[in-house]
Symmetry: C2
Subunit: 230 residues, 2 copies
């Protein structure tokens, strides 16, 4: 099967590292763990794993995500491949980073303890092993771009959400405040949300209406020739 031409060349360990984003306490967080093996055992690290023979890069990343979150169907996107010779002090490893957006409402906190993992506010990011800080930085840059171009922000929520929460998330991602009226005006003009009768009454006395993202309305929006832009 494998061609002769392919045999005389170096082979490499390949890892998939995941920047797992979640939204909590009006701030964007990422899931970090204490690295379980040498070198740099015990230091903060992204979730990762080696790619094995019978899986694609995406499969490997999905496996990592499932192991640490027990969620399936997580939104995931490749960030970049990292291939400096000495990026991993334990040996030559080429790593492909993926970012993922998880619904924190569904997150099983017992998992966190099992893996010595912690949700960390992106504003208080510690020093991470190897080039993981760079990976997070690149992932954030990509996330900011993607959020502005595609309706992926809704993947942070478990189905329904309130407009104040959506705005808080948006502000957490971009790290700057935006005007409430302008934000809502823009969303209204897109007409891609369904307003529910239900209210969320935990974070305020008056309560904020829940909304859901409507795939159908979004399709109509696209069909009308417009492009999503937030």
């Amino acid at each position: 099967m494998t061609n002769q031409y392919y045999l005389d060349t170096s082979k490499f360990l390949v890892a998939a590292d995941c920047i797992i984003f979640g939204f909590r306490d009006k701030e964007l967080h990422i899931l970090l763990t204490r690295r379980p093996v040498e070198p740099e055992a015990g230091e903060w690290s992204l979730m990762g794993g080696f790619v094995s023979e019978n899986e694609s890069l995406e499969d490997a990343a999905k496996k990592v995500l499932f192991d640490y979150t027990q969620q399936r169907g997580i939104y995931m996107e490749q960030v970049n491949a990292y291939g400096e010779i000495d990026r991993d002090s334990g040996g030559r490893v080429i790593s492909v980073a993926f970012y993922a957006l998880v619904r924190l409402e569904e997150f099983d906190t017992t998992l966190a303890q099992k893996f010595d993992a912690r949700w960390t506010n992106i504003k208080e990011l510690p020093q991470l092993v190897f080039d993981h800080n760079k990976m997070v930085h690149d992932a954030l840059t990509l996330l900011r771009f993607k959020v502005s171009m595609q309706p992926i922000i809704f993947k942070f929520f478990d189905e329904k959400f309130t407009l104040p929460a959506l705005q808080d998330l948006y502000e957490a991602i971009y790290q700057h405040p935006i005007d409430k009226r302008n934000f809502r005006k823009k969303l209204a003009s897109m007409n891609i949300l369904d307003k529910l009768d239900e209210k969320e009454t935990v974070s305020s006395k008056r309560g904020a209406f829940y909304y859901t993202f409507s795939e159908e309305k979004y399709m109509e929006y696209l069909a009308s020739g417009k492009y999503f832009s937030l």
Copy 2:
């Protein structure tokens, strides 16, 4: 040196494939070659090579670029890693794609013959081996985005260029016509170009003034708080 933990895992061939963009005849072109080895020998392919033990991914891509163009300091950027199990019918290969922008004025055409390479209009792209068509598609998407956000379009030119040529290039990248006056107005408002006294008189009788991109003016532009956007 290499830790025990790293030893029990699969290793992979890793390739660097380059989408080399150039501008000619008012159209965007990419450099393709006839694949020299089985499988799919003789079919159209991107330029690529395997990564070796003592080089980073970027180094491998730079080597490929130098081999095929003899130019140094080519602008290059990573597109994505491709890791489907059966993407290469010759064996399991993980490939990292890079796009590059070359100055066609400096291109040595004898090289093309040596490698059985050809500049191909992106509008007439043939079927390529493996997933190379997808790589080109992804590279084009990224190029379009980057061109709109950073002044990399000037890397297509050897120092000086005319405004009509710049506009032609811009239209070739985005595949749609733009208004001449609006285009020039926008460039003028940015004030990042230096007008030369010299004219280019090959493509018109009247002649078009040459311009150069001014790094200093660009720095001032950024310092004024504005962001490049074309």
